[in-house]
């Protein structure tokens, strides 16, 4: 963008070292209408503005940087640094980092257009607080800050070191999550000009004064911020590096020793004595939360009312004529969802526009599977239906002797599906010919899982079976009650829940039980596994997170009703519906609620994610889509 073009938009009053701020009603780029000044920095103001390109009210934050350097070469350099930083910001995607929408320069001013974060920064909260913050509040902020630091420090190709963690740069939003603001752009800006130290005295570690920018610099500043929040003693008013003289527990005896120890280690004078990484300190903090019992509180939202219907809006919804109890499937720009109005619907995934529907003679409870141009799904009309994704016309169907409530799994040219007739059916995908049936002794509602040369599935009598590709049983396991939950296999271990209130981990090769985890009530939810963590729901209203190595509970989140649907993982979040009607978005590592959306009836299905869009059906007859 050339300066000539952009100066057209605004008449800047030049005047030596003085500059004027934008006023209410000023229009930037013919698009952003200034509403008010929300902050002042050393290099310019921060404004709240409205983006007039949208009819809907969309608020943005506009940061202004004013260069007072007259030398054109230096000035161009400053703008280049600014531009590079803006480009880095453009690649960042994290719930605790404001999104960048635009940047431009006008004369000696540069502007960043950012997501508007509604809330107060921690410096304001520090000024307003009457007494100490509750430990769990600070702990929950700390874990979230570690989460965003972990994200920044693992940025590729270069880690991003924030270098200026302090209360005034941390926003506590009205949804009660943390956002990091002021991405050091001003600092780089300034340092290019005056060669000053980057960071803030009081919060910056000694190594930062030597010009080092390592993750440990941010860890120290995080420690300093937490120390400030716990003790209410402003480090900017104290001698540098004197935290050890202000012992946390002496000032605030309410803080657990464990938490104080983590903060103190983050504040070690020597970088090598501090935590090595944000991940390490995050784990230490989560351990503190687990030990002191605050972890359970962490998952309890403190201001749930504000999220309801306010900030979370579906991108689009689609209404059917009856309940959606199953899960949608995404394939190639289209969404396929079965409904209890007996139809399978094909929708445009981007707009929700109706493409076609296909009528069966029964409710459609499962999740469709798409394979080579056809969509496969079971119906309570006892059939497996195979329909062309393009035309919505039937390709073939297969009759079983009972309602089909299992979902199809496709592998090795075959489709595997269970039926209430007590069999697992294996059919050739092209001919629809039945290859074999495996007798399970009772209804098979669990969706089979195919791994290696074997198929795994549960049944309503509590039998869990591993069969080979000829349908011969390789091993069997018996739970005390029904296994409706669908198995998942990771690293040769098969995980599933049962109505006998147990979550099982079995060796996939032999059926030996590796561990059992006790749930509060029975479960028909299908586990989701990522790394060492497993997520599942149960009838005791709880969404569980369990470590798959030790079978220990990491966190739990309690909804207001049974969790019969299954959680899914998308990036660092867990999405799960509940019979209480909500779709929940939880932080995968802490279980803290990020947001929830209330539908008008129970959610019994499972969401599906595609490119940051979450799709979920509700028994209020609607299919919803959200930005993850």
């Amino acid at each position: 963008m050339s300066e000539d073009q952009s100066t057209r938009d605004l008449d800047i009053k030049e005047g030596g070292t003085k500059y004027s701020q934008l006023k209410k009603g000023d229009l930037l780029q013919d698009r952003y209408e200034i509403q008010e000044i929300v902050g002042m920095g050393g290099m310019g103001a921060v404004y709240r503005a409205r983006d007039k390109n949208f009819k809907a009210i969309r608020l943005v934050a506009i940061k202004e940087m004013i260069s007072q350097v007259t030398d054109p070469v230096i000035r161009r350099n400053i703008f280049q640094i600014f531009e590079r930083e803006a480009n880095i910001l453009a690649t960042l995607r994290h719930p605790s980092i404001p999104r960048i929408y635009d940047y431009f320069t006008i004369g000696e001013r540069a502007y960043l257009v950012l997501e508007f974060i509604h809330g107060k920064n921690l410096e304001q909260l520090l000024a307003e607080t009457q007494g100490f913050f509750p430990e769990e509040q600070v702990l929950s902020w700390a874990v979230e800050l570690c989460d965003v630091l972990e994200y920044l420090h693992s940025h590729k190709p270069e880690p991003i070191i924030f270098r200026d963690i302090k209360p005034s740069n941390i926003m506590n939003t009205i949804q009660n999550y943390i956002a990091l603001v002021d991405f050091g752009i001003a600092k780089v800006f300034e340092s290019g000009q005056k060669n000053t130290m980057v960071g803030t005295q009081g919060y910056s570690p000694p190594d930062q004064y030597r010009g080092e920018a390592t993750p440990r610099v941010d860890i120290y500043a995080l420690g300093a911020t937490l120390h400030h929040l716990l003790t209410l003693r402003d480090p900017q008013l104290e001698a540098p590096f004197s935290f050890s003289e202000r012992v946390i527990n002496e000032i605030n005896p309410n803080v657990s020793k464990e938490f104080a120890a983590v903060v103190e280690r983050a504040l070690e004078y020597k970088p090598e004595d501090r935590y090595e990484s944000a991940t390490e300190i995050k784990e230490a903090l989560i351990n503190v939360a687990r030990k002191t019992g605050t972890l359970l509180h962490l998952s309890i939202p403190t201001t749930p009312a504000t999220t309801r219907g306010v900030s979370i809006k579906p991108l689009w919804t689609f209404e059917c004529e009856d309940e959606i109890r199953g899960a949608p499937a995404y394939h190639d720009g289209a969404l396929y969802v079965g409904c209890y109005d007996n139809n399978l619907y094909a929708l445009d995934a981007a707009t929700g526009e109706f493409k076609w529907k296909y009528a069966t003679d029964g409710g459609i409870p499962g999740k469709p599977a798409v394979f080579e141009g056809n969509v496969y799904f079971g119906s309570e009309d006892t059939r497996l239906h195979v329909v062309s994704t393009r035309s919505g016309k039937v390709v073939w169907t297969h009759y079983t002797e009972g309602p089909v409530r299992s979902s199809p799994r496709i592998a090795e040219g075959h489709v595997f599906i269970g039926s209430d007739d007590g069999n697992l059916h294996a059919l050739n995908t092209t001919s629809g010919r039945l290859a074999w049936k495996a007798d399970a002794g009772s209804a098979v509602r669990s969706t089979p899982y195919v791994s290696g040369d074997y198929v795994y599935f549960g049944s309503e009598s509590g039998d869990f079976t591993c069969v080979d590709f000829r349908g011969n049983a390789r091993w069997r396991f018996k739970a005390k009650r029904a296994i409706t939950s669908s198995p998942v296999i990771v690293d040769s271990v098969v995980y599933f829940g049962s109505m006998d209130s147990t979550l099982y981990a079995l060796d996939a090769n032999s059926g030996w039980v590796v561990w059992r985890f006790r749930l509060g009530k029975g479960s028909i939810s299908t586990p989701a596994v990522a790394g060492n963590l497993l997520y599942t729901g149960a009838a005791d209203h709880v969404i569980y997170c369990v470590d798959v190595r030790s079978a220990k509970e990491m966190w739990r989140f309690t909804t207001d009703h049974q969790v019969t649907g299954s959680p899914i993982l998308h990036r660092d979040a867990v999405f799960c519906g509940s019979v209480d009607g909500n779709l929940y978005c939880l932080d995968a590592s802490s279980g803290r609620m990020r947001w929830r959306f209330q539908t008008d009836a129970p959610i019994t299905g499972t969401p599906v994610a595609h490119e940051d869009v979450i799709f979920i059906g509700s028994t209020d007859k609607r299919l919803y889509t959200f930005v993850a």
Partner: protein
């Protein structure tokens, strides 16, 4: 915080030894590695091969370490899971209690596991147990705990035990013996966390590494078998490193020989038995201040 008690052992400061060329075996090195197939998908294997070694070291007259190393294969192959029990216990408690504690722990744990799994695995009609492997391991640890309290009152020992069944490996851990996974690509990963007070203080930022190394209580464990009401073992499951090794050793090895050297000796020796001998030699060459015990396990497809 768990009951803290003093171990009466002492440890030399951790040294790194430069043991350039560990003597190699006739059938040497990488060539033997290369005969092993690269395992692509979930590896199935029929055999576990293992070695173990136990040495009092150069400064001790008694031996407070104890080892159990057992593996078995039965049946027609693929469908029968390979089975192994590997345990190291490092005793403490003064007089003869240390020796008795570790010996008792290893035997009690081993016989419980074998008794529990003998019929399900080796009986005429093999059937998985109703209890989970983690529950069986937990019960075995408590059994060993009771036995140690009875046979060596006041004594105690570390315990690091691995039960391998097919692809699954269940580890129970108390104290500061260690289990490592050593992968073919040279990665060496500690599977266990030491329950040592000084290490804990260090983790909590109360001590620097320098202070920890000379701390008078550096051999004090905050968890061990034979102490307290119940033995609070870490119990967890993982996959046996394949291709690779499972190494279990006492601090007489890991406290004396640098990890890089351990990794090199293990990876450059095809036979687990010889590798164990070389590891003991390396620890002795570095002064052998403590008893040395080591178990090395490899899965062979």
């Amino acid at each position: 915080m768990k009951k803290i008690f003093r171990g009466l052992r002492s440890k030399k400061k951790k040294k790194t030894t430069k043991r350039a060329n560990a003597p190699t075996v006739p059938l040497s090195d990488a060539q033997v590695w290369d005969t092993l197939p690269e395992s692509g998908r979930a590896a199935k294997f029929t055999h576990l091969i293992s070695g173990s070694a136990l040495h009092p070291g150069q400064r001790r007259e008694n031996n407070e370490d104890a080892v159990l190393c057992l593996n078995a294969a039965v049946g027609s192959g693929v469908e029968s899971p390979a089975f192994g029990i590997y345990v190291i216990a490092d005793g403490m408690g003064g007089h003869r209690n240390g020796e008795v504690a570790s010996e008792t722990a290893v035997r009690a744990l081993g016989s419980y596991l074998i008794g529990k799994l003998y019929k399900p695995l080796f009986g005429p009609d093999p059937q998985p147990t109703q209890e989970s492997l983690q529950e069986i391991m937990e019960a075995a640890v408590q059994e060993a705990h009771r036995a140690v309290k009875k046979e060596a009152p006041g004594g105690g020992c570390t315990l690091t035990a691995a039960l391998v069944l097919g692809n699954q490996m269940v580890i129970a851990h108390l104290g500061d013996s260690r289990a490592y996974a050593i992968y073919r690509d040279g990665r060496m990963e500690a599977l266990t966390t030491d329950h040592s007070l000084v290490k804990r203080l260090q983790e909590m930022g109360q001590l620097t590494e320098e202070e920890a190394a000379i701390h008078p209580q550096k051999s004090v464990l905050y968890r061990a078998l034979g102490q307290g009401e119940k033995a609070p073992a870490d119990i967890f499951t993982g996959s046996l490193p394949n291709p690779g090794f499972l190494l279990i050793c006492s601090d007489g090895l890991w406290g004396v020989v640098a990890e890089d050297d351990i990794q090199r000796i293990v990876s450059s020796t095809a036979s687990p038995f010889l590798a164990c001998q070389h590891l003991v030699e390396a620890a002795n060459a570095a002064g052998g201040p403590d008893n040395i015990s080591v178990v090395l396990v490899r899965a062979v497809s």
